[in-house]
Symmetry: C4
Subunit: 280 residues, 4 copies
C-alpha cells in the first residue's frame, strides 16, 4: 500500500509536473502524440483514399484513442483530488478527446451519416490538450484578462453597430439585391465591418454602396480600439516588471518591482529572489 | 398630492437610477425586453413562416411596442425636467423605439410595400436603448474624444486619397472594365483601401493592377495611424489614472488601482476620490 | 505705387494668412468652392444625364476653372517671391487645378476620347488644394517623418516578400490556375498580403493554398510593424509635450517641456509662454 | 605573394566593407544589378514576346548569371574564412542566386517543362541578396527578436483556433457546400481569420454563417495581440535608447538623440558610445 502510494507520487510528478527530466520527456511524447492524432483526423477527412490506407488510418485512430483513454484514467488515478481534476478545464478536455470515438460506435446505422461525421470531426478537439503547454499564466493572458471589461464594452458596441447597419442595408437594398433577411444582412455587416469582404453579398444600389463605404471606414477605424486597449495594457504590464515576491503576512503576490511594502496589508516585503522569466 | 410626488420620487430612483436594488432589477428587465424585441424584429424579416407564427410575432411586437410606449410616458412623467429628457439623446431614442410601429399603421395600402418595410426595419433602432448601459463616460470614449482632432485630420486625408485614387482608376480602367463612373470608382477605392476587397469590381489592366497594389499598400500602412492615435491616448489616460491617489505619509503616487497600502512606506492609502469604474 | 503695394500687402494677409477675420472668411469660401467643384467633376462622370443638365455642369465647371485661374494669378501677383510660390508644392497644385480644363480644349477631335477623359478626370486633382488646410505641420506628420527610415525598411522588406511569394505561386500554380505571369502573381501577393482578398485570382492546388495561408498569416502579423512604429513615435511625441520656446542664442526650437537649457548650444531657455495647441 | 595579399585586403574592403568610397560605389552597382536581373526574370515570365525580345532577355539573363557567379567566386577568394562565408546566410543566398540557371541547363528535354519553369522562377531568389543592405541589426529586428516567445505563443494559439474552426465548419457545412475536407476547411479558416476573404469558399447555411461571423470577429480582435507585443517592445526599446547618454555634471539621462547639451544644467554631453543609426 505504501509502495503503491509512492508509485502514484512518482507518476504524479511525471504526468502533472514539468520539473523532472522524466516529466519533460513525458510532455514531449504527449505533444507528439497529440499532433500526430490531429494529423490523422485531418487526413481522415479527405476522400478518395484506397481501402488499405483507410484501414491504416482506422487502426492509427484507435491506437491514439486507447492511448488517450489510458492517459485520462491514469490522471484520474494519480490525481490527489480526482473529482477536481475531472471537473477542471483540462479534465473536460481530456475526456472530450476520447469520448467522440466511443460515441461514434453507438450510431453505426447507415442513415445517421451526418451524426457520424460530426462525431469523427469532434475528435479534433484533442488539439485543445495542447493548451496545457501554452503557458496559460503568461503576460499575454494577464493583459487580456485585465482589460476584459473594456473589450466587452467594445464588443457590445460592435454588436449594436452591426445590428443597425445590417437592418439599414436590408431596408435599402432589400431581398431583390441579395439581402433576403435581417439575419443575413447582419452577417453581411460582420463580413464588411471586419474587412473580410467575401463578395458573395454586395450592395448594388448607389445608396447601399454609400452605406457600405461608411461601414467599411467604421470597421477600418474602430480596429484601433481593441489594439489600443491591448497595447496600453501590455506596455503598462511590461513596465511594471512584476516580481515573483509574495507577502509573508497575507501570502498575496503580484507586487510591482519597486514595491517595498505589501500593497494589500502594508507588511514589509522580503527581498525578491528571481524575476518573472516571461518578462525578460 | 404629497404622496404622488413621493411616488414620482421613488419611481425616478428606480427608472433613472442604478443604486437601489429595485433600480438594478428594473434595468435588467428592460435590457431583457430590448434584446427580445430586437430578436422579434430580426426573426420577423425572415420569410416563409406559417400564418400562426406570423400572428404570434405580430402579437409579441405589439406587446413590446405598448411596453416601450408606457415606459416612455412614465419617463416623461417622473422626470423633473420632461422637456430636457425629451430633447436628450436617450429621449429621442426612446421615442424612435415606438414611433415606427404607429407610423406603419397609417400606411396600410398594398402599394406602399417599400415604406412599410422601412418602418418595420426602423423598429430595430430600439437596440440604441442599450447604449444607456454601455457606461458612456468610460475611459474608451474619453480617449476617442480627446483625440477627435487628430482622427478628423486622418479622415480628411483618407477622403482626399480615395477621391484621387478613385478618379485615377476611372481614367485608367474606364467603363469597359466595370469602373462606370467616378462615384463607383470611389466606392471601389474605399473597398480596397480599407482592405475589405469584395471583388465585385476589380482592375483588369496591368496599369490598373499596379495602381490597385499601391492603394492596398497605402491602406495597409495608414491603418497604423488611427491605431497609433488611440493607443497613445489610452496609454496616457491610463498612466494619468495611476497618479490620482497619493500616499499621505510619503506623498508618493503611481500606485496601482487595487493597492490599499503605500508600496513605498506601508501606510494605508486614502480612499480615491473619483474612481473610474471602467478601470477595475 | 505705394498704395498698390499696400493693397498687395493686405491681400497677402487675406489670401495667404489665417489670422485676420477676412483671411478666415476667404479660406472658408475657397474650401466650399473646392468641394463644390470636386462634386461637379464627380457628377460629370456619371452617364445618362439630359442635355440640359450637361450644359449646366459645363457652365459650372468653367465657372470654377475661371475662379481658380483668377486665384492662381492673384497668388502669383501678391506673393513676395512669385517664383518660389510657383515652384512650391501648393503652387504646383494650384496650377494643376486649372491646367487640365485648358488642355482639354486643345484636343477636341472625336478620335481622342481617352485623352479627353483623362484630362476631365485630372481636374479632380483640385482636391489637393484642401491639403493646405489640413495643418500639415501637426503631430501626426511629425511622427511619420521621424519614423520614415523605419517605414522605408519595412516597405523594402514587404517588397522582397511579395516578389518571392509571387514568383513561388507562379511556379506552383502556374498559368493553368490563373497565375499567368510573375507580375500578375506579384499583384496577387499584394492583394493577399494586405488582406484585401478580391478572389479574382485564388490558389486551386493544395500546395498553393498552403503557401497562400502562409502569405495571409505573414500579412496579418507584419501589419503590427508599421502600427508599432507609428504608435511608439506618437507616444514619445505626446509625452515629450514639446513647448514652443525657442533658444534666444541659436534661435532653434523643438525643446522638450522640462528643458531648462538649450540642447543645441547650452544657453538657458526663456520661460515658455504658450504650449503647442496641437498637443492639448 | 605579398602583393596578392594586399590586393585581397583591398578587395575585401571594397566588396565586404561599406566605409570606403569604392565600397559604397560597389554596393550601389550591385544593388542596381540585382534589381535589373530581378526585373529580367519577372519580364521573362510574361508570354507572347517576339523571338527577338526573348533572345535579348536570354542574353541579359546569362550576363547577370555570369556576373553573380564571378562575384560569388570573388567573395570566396577574398574572404579570410571562405568556408564560414559559404555557410553563412548570405553565402547560401549568393550561391542560390546563380545555381538555378546552371541546373536548368541539365534538364533540356521538352518533357520536363514544369521543372524548367521552377528553375527559371527560382532565379528570383536573387532578390534576397538585397537583404544585406536592409541593415539587419536595426531596432525593428531587435524588437521582433526580443518578443519572439510571445509571438510564438500567439501563433500556436492561432494554429489551435484555425484547426478547431476549420473542423467545425467541415462538420456543419460539409462537402455539399464546398467544404470538401478538413485541410480545405482549415484553409478557409485562415482566409477568414486573417480577414482576407477571397469568397471562393463561403458558408451557405445560417449556422455556418453564424460560426463564420464568430471567426471574423475573433480574427478582427486578436489582430490586436501581435500589434500590442511589437508596439510595447518598440516603445521600451526607444525609451531605453534615450537613457544611454548621461550628463557628467548632474548625472541625469533621458536626453533626446540629437541633444548636444544637457537640458537640465546646460553642460556639454559626452559623445554617445554606441549610436544606433536607425534612430536618427
Amino acid at each position: 500500500m505504501m509502495k503503491l502510494l509512492s508509485i502514484r507520487q512518482q507518476l504524479y510528478e511525471i504526468v502533472f509536473g514539468t520539473e523532472t527530466k522524466a516529466g519533460r520527456y513525458y510532455d514531449i511524447c504527449l505533444i507528439v502524440a497529440i499532433l500526430l492524432s490531429v494529423v490523422v483526423v485531418i487526413i481522415d477527412s479527405i476522400e478518395g483514399f484506397s481501402h488499405q490506407t483507410e484501414t491504416a488510418l482506422l487502426l492509427l485512430e484507435w491506437g491514439f484513442t486507447l492511448l488517450f483513454t489510458f492517459e485520462y484514467l491514469l490522471r484520474l488515478w494519480i490525481s490527489p483530488k480526482p473529482l477536481a481534476y475531472a471537473r477542471s478545464f483540462f479534465g473536460v478536455v481530456d475526456l472530450l478527446a476520447v469520448l467522440p470515438s466511443y460515441l461514434a460506435l453507438l450510431v453505426t446505422g447507415g442513415q445517421y451519416l451526418l451524426i457520424v461525421r460530426i462525431f469523427r470531426v469532434l475528435r479534433i478537439f484533442r488539439v485543445l490538450k495542447l493548451v496545457r503547454y501554452l503557458g496559460e499564466a503568461n503576460i499575454l493572458m494577464r493583459s487580456i484578462i485585465q482589460s476584459r471589461r473594456k473589450i466587452l464594452v467594445f464588443f457590445l458596441s460592435v454588436g449594436i453597430l452591426i445590428t443597425l447597419f445590417g437592418a439599414l442595408m436590408y431596408a435599402i437594398e432589400g431581398p431583390e439585391n441579395g439581402f433576403t433577411s435581417i439575419p443575413l444582412s447582419i452577417y453581411w455587416a460582420v463580413v464588411t465591418l471586419t474587412t473580410v469582404g467575401y463578395g458573395d453579398i454586395a450592395p448594388q444600389t448607389p445608396m447601399g454602396q454609400a452605406i457600405a463605404a461608411l461601414v467599411m471606414l467604421t470597421g477600418y477605424s474602430i480596429l484601433a480600439v481593441p489594439t489600443g486597449i491591448v497595447t496600453a495594457e501590455l506596455s503598462t504590464e511590461m513596465m511594471r516588471q512584476r516580481s515573483l515576491t509574495r507577502c509573508q503576512q497575507c501570502e498575496r503576490g503580484n507586487h510591482e518591482a519597486d514595491a517595498e511594502f505589501c500593497k494589500y496589508c502594508g507588511t514589509e516585503l522580503p527581498e525578491p529572489l528571481i524575476k518573472d522569466p516571461s518578462l525578460s
